[in-house]
């Protein structure tokens, strides 16, 4: 109820602002809404969205595979953790975007350059979560594993991997958001394409309804990506009855 009231208040304020002459950058609500509807229906938004989606998904999957492997190596082999852990903890504070101007030199301004940005946005969250997931497996579970002679390949398949899964899936969820972030950043700053191109064109035309529509659309797409990641997480962790509500 309170949410409905607040949403109404927000839309009301938006509508009021759009009526003021000196504020040209707020379009009337109905203009933005109809623009969103038209641009979705005629495919002007969906076509670039596919391009952006492919970019985000590629970088995300690449980060998922490599991040998991690196995370496991750090957790299992001490020398690897000694060597790589400083990079992992530094990655939190490092602005990946500083590399954007030179990625083109090494990987070009095409798909691979943009994938590299998405990858860098995601990979650290995946590997750090994987590492902590494995390290934080309850010692009792590991002891049980030994007592019941669950060894070799079975130890990993039946115990280590499923036990680390909650943390790994948390990494997946975080990365899903970052993948969309990274894709949009790459499409606006490295080589304009996809939804980034759409937004930039709308901005350059001063077509504010289209720009607002595009932004709302991007936001919805990001929501969808996170929602899908959450669904996947819920499916993988269906044994976690505490997550159900």
């Amino acid at each position: 109820m309170a949410r409905i009231v607040s949403l109404a208040a927000l839309l009301g304020a938006w509508q009021y602002l759009s009526g003021r002459d000196n504020i040209y950058f707020v379009p009337p609500v109905q203009d933005a809404a109809s623009s969103l509807w038209n641009e979705v229906v005629n495919g002007n938004l969906l076509r670039p969205a596919l391009q952006t989606g492919a970019l985000a998904l590629t970088g995300f999957l690449l980060a998922l595979v490599i991040g998991t492997v690196v995370g496991v190596l750090i957790a299992v082999f001490r020398p690897v953790s000694y060597v790589l852990e400083p990079i992992m903890s530094a990655s939190n504070a490092t602005p990946i975007a500083v590399l954007i101007p030179i990625i083109g030199i090494y990987l070009g301004l095409g798909f691979s350059g943009k994938v590299a940005i998405v990858f860098l946005f995601c990979v650290f969250a995946v590997s750090m979560n994987t590492t902590s997931g494995i390290r934080e497996i309850k010692s009792g579970i590991l002891e049980m594993t030994r007592a019941y002679c669950v060894t070799g390949w079975r130890r990993y398949r039946d115990v280590i991997v499923p036990a680390a899964m909650p943390a790994l899936m948390a990494g997946v969820r975080i990365s899903a958001g970052r993948a969309v972030q990274g894709a949009l950043t790459a499409e606006l700053l490295l080589a304009v394409s996809g939804l980034g191109l759409y937004l930039m064109n709308a901005g350059n035309r001063y077509d504010v309804p289209d720009l607002v529509a595009g932004t709302v659309f991007v936001s919805a797409a990001a929501f969808l990506a996170l929602h899908l990641a959450g669904r996947w997480e819920g499916h993988v962790l269906r044994w976690r009855t505490d997550l159900k509500n």
């Binding site: 309170a2 607040s6 500083v98 101007p101 958001g177 972030q181 936001s219």
Partner: protein, 277 residues
Amino acid sequence: MTATSTVIAPPSRAAGAAHAATLARERRRKWTYRAVFWAALLLAWEVAARRAGPRFLPTLESIAVDGMSGFFTNGFVVPFLDSWLQLFIGFAIALAVTIPLGVLLGWSRLPNVVLMPYVNGLFVTPTAALLPLVILFAGTDLTFRVVVVILFAFYYPLVNTATGVRQTAGGLRDLSSTLCMSKLAAFRKVVVPAATPYILVGVRLGLAAAVQGMVIAELWVLTGTGEVLKNLAQFRRLSEFFAIVILIVALALLLTGLLRLIEIRLARRGMVSAGES
């Protein structure tokens, strides 16, 4: 909570005070591994740089000498400092708004119900996608950069503060009524100390996001350090480019490291007082 799940350190599983000698040996081993690996990495960089040439990969020497001296003599210091100044302005505004708001969100239910969907919505929305819109009403000057920094940085301080306050708020109401403490006194004596570690983590994560925001904003409108970086890359003045990147990253690490140090200090104090009681 997702916001901090990547940064909470795993609990130490060292068995008591045992194996002091083994630990010392292990520490030596750790630094040996690190030294060898990092030396090898730098060597590999150097070899690759000498083969690829300065227009592709600058040598370590040229980064350290040409790059760093170029930074000071070619007029990059002013935009560099300018960028950080605007970062701090934006970040200070972000904190001034988000920490009180976070306290409110953690303290009472209604604002939480009403506002959290928007907070999460704004967090989920790729911030880069907001740039074309922000530019329309904020221009390309100080306001723009400050707004972008705020958009990047607001989430973690806000949500972590709310979480920290919420953790104590429930029990606190009982406590303040049992001890006949005034709400305000209880707030000052219980909530603030209990929430401080959460807030600090939030500030640290927010600062990291703010630096990212600064870089992205400046690359988008081409001002300050962003413009410098873009130009240096375009003209393949890579030794200067890498020198500036190193300075930015070093400064970001230094600042977040300082915050981390404060966190550890506080945690240690908390542990001592918990042990005494």
